[in-house]
């Protein structure tokens, strides 16, 4: 049974690391989360689609973003991609907010209404 136990230990350690990593990146306050969700749906949505299935810009869905490194996506959101229609959003959010958006995009973005319910 010693083998099983060390496996469990590994899992627990890994879970712990993940939890620390997640909390190290400060979550925006609830009100700000609501603003960010609305911004992503509406303002990012004008190019990526309200449902984020793509428009002039590519789809921002978990299955299209899965294999892309998160920090590169955060850089794209903050700085944009020169030579393309993707603008940089640094004037309107800080890096940890952009990281929060990317993380949520990779998980599947909450609808505006659901987020509104959450913050009630």
């Amino acid at each position: 049974m010693g083998f099983d136990r060390s496996l469990w230990l590994h899992v627990l350690v890994l879970l712990g690391v993940a939890a620390v990593a997640a909390s190290a990146q400060a979550e925006p306050a609830t009100e700000r989360q609501r603003e960010l969700v609305n911004m992503v749906r509406q303002d990012c949505g004008s190019c990526h689609g309200l449902t984020l299935k793509g428009g002039l810009g590519p789809a921002l869905l978990p299955e299209t973003l899965r294999d892309k490194p998160a920090d590169a996506l955060v850089a794209t959101v903050m700085m944009g991609r020169p030579g393309t229609a993707m603008p940089g959003w640094a004037p309107f959010m800080n890096e940890s907010e952009a990281a929060w958006i990317v993380q949520r995009l990779m998980q599947g973005f909450p609808p505006v209404a659901a987020q509104m319910e959450l913050s009630k």
Partner: protein, 391 residues
């Protein structure tokens, strides 16, 4: 003959009586729709008394929805982002037919003879022609610009001769497709420039202009002389200047032609460009509050109304065309997405998405005539578009 006509009117009376709405006989010339993008519905409105007549739900994803009208101005063809094409009867306020025609669509247009409604699609890139009565597919032109490569289609406009002009964002081309033989469309291709993002046709249907995102300048095609090819105008109009970020793509559709001059949104500059349409050269630039999105001329051409991209989307500015000066700055609400003039320009209807309302302004006094509640309203489209080339 008389008997047949009597029969027909009895039949239509019967049909009307069969509907839920009261069978009031009326025209459609002062009707229109307001897109409620979050709820996937449209409100049918009338602009004589400035009221909402009711709403029609069940239209799918209406972000970036576009509406074009049947030749008789009774039916609205609503194009949704989800590829939905819905034919809505303005009089009965019911859905006549709804199809999903593509994965991702941004609009469409009706042919000169009124028989075809043509959709422009991002995914799969191309255009599709449907029978305007039945919405059955008649033919399609995939935007395959190189083997296996498809482009998003933007700026579709109907022009005389059963033709449609449109631009290919990814290919940098303008295509003209002739549907004289509806099942066998013929397409001519023209190189245009980098990343055309939208297009417009002049009110007479002669010139097609495509705005370029990837370079400064506008691609111009004279449809009376297509053999001359596309000409680049306003080439490098911002040379040497740092471009400002564009948080929303401008739209060119809308008649921003006034007194021999075209008023167009600059890209990456907080300016409206004024172009002399005799020489197609720059005549002036009007500094404005932000990145212009819609630049629309009042039908008489005396004023041009401008709204803006995020983060300046709470403003609307009015340019006096003879002096080319901003004469009024309005704050109609949060996230102003669209403006629509009444046919003769006495009023303009302005949608404010995040304030859930539509505001009707008097264009002479700028007074608010009315505000109407609407759920996240975006586009406003009046039925007189039915009679215009390029709408």
């Amino acid at each position: 003959m008389t008997v047949r006509m009597l029969g027909a009117s009895l039949l239509s009376l019967g049909l009307l009586a069969g509907c839920a709405q009261t069978p009031v006989l009326r025209g459609t010339g002062d009707l229109g729709v307001v897109i409620e993008r979050a709820t996937g519905s449209v409100q049918v409105v009338e602009h004589s008394g400035r009221t909402s007549l009711g709403s029609v739900p069940g239209l799918g994803d209406l972000s970036h929805a576009h509406v074009t009208y049947s030749r008789d101005a009774r039916y609205a063809f609503v194009f949704g982002r989800d590829g939905g094409l819905t034919k809505v009867d303005l009089l009965t306020r019911t859905i006549v037919k709804r199809i999903i025609q593509a994965g991702n669509s941004i609009g469409g247009s009706v042919s000169q003879d009124g028989r075809l409604v043509v959709a422009q699609n991002y995914q799969p890139g191309g255009i599709k022609a449907f029978d305007a009565d039945t919405l059955e597919l008649v033919s399609e032109v995939p935007a395959e610009y190189a083997p296996g490569k498809f482009s998003k289609v933007v700026g579709l406009a109907d022009v005389p001769g059963q033709k449609f002009v449109y631009a290919l964002f990814d290919a940098g081309e303008i295509w003209v497709t002739d549907f004289s033989d509806p099942k066998h469309p013929k397409t001519t291709r023209f190189p245009a420039g980098q990343q055309p993002y939208d297009g417009l046709v002049t009110p007479d249907g002669r010139y097609f202009m495509a705005g370029l995102f990837g370079e400064d300048g506008i691609a111009l095609l004279d449809l009376w002389h297509p053999e001359k090819g596309v000409r680049k105008i306003l080439d490098g109009y911002g040379r040497g200047e740092e471009k400002l970020p564009v948080y929303k793509m401008p739209h060119l559709r809308g008649w921003a032609m006034a007194g021999g001059f075209a008023f167009l949104p600059a890209i990456g500059r907080h300016e409206v460009l004024v172009v002399d349409t005799k020489t197609w050269t720059e005549a002036a630039r009007v500094p404005v509050k932000g990145q212009p999105v819609f630049v629309m001329a009042r039908p008489d051409g005396r004023q041009v109304w401008v709204n803006f991209a995020f983060p300046d989307n709470g403003w609307v500015q009015v340019i006096d065309t003879p002096t080319r000066e901003v004469i009024k700055t309005l704050a109609p609400g949060k996230a102003v997405l669209h403006m629509e003039f009444t046919p003769r320009g006495d009023n303009v209807w302005v949608s404010a998405r995040d304030d859930n309302r539509v505001t009707v302004f008097d264009t002479d006094t700028f007074e608010v005539r009315k505000t109407l509640p609407a759920t996240a309203p975006s586009g406003i489209f009046f039925s007189h578009r039915a009679a215009r080339i390029g709408f």
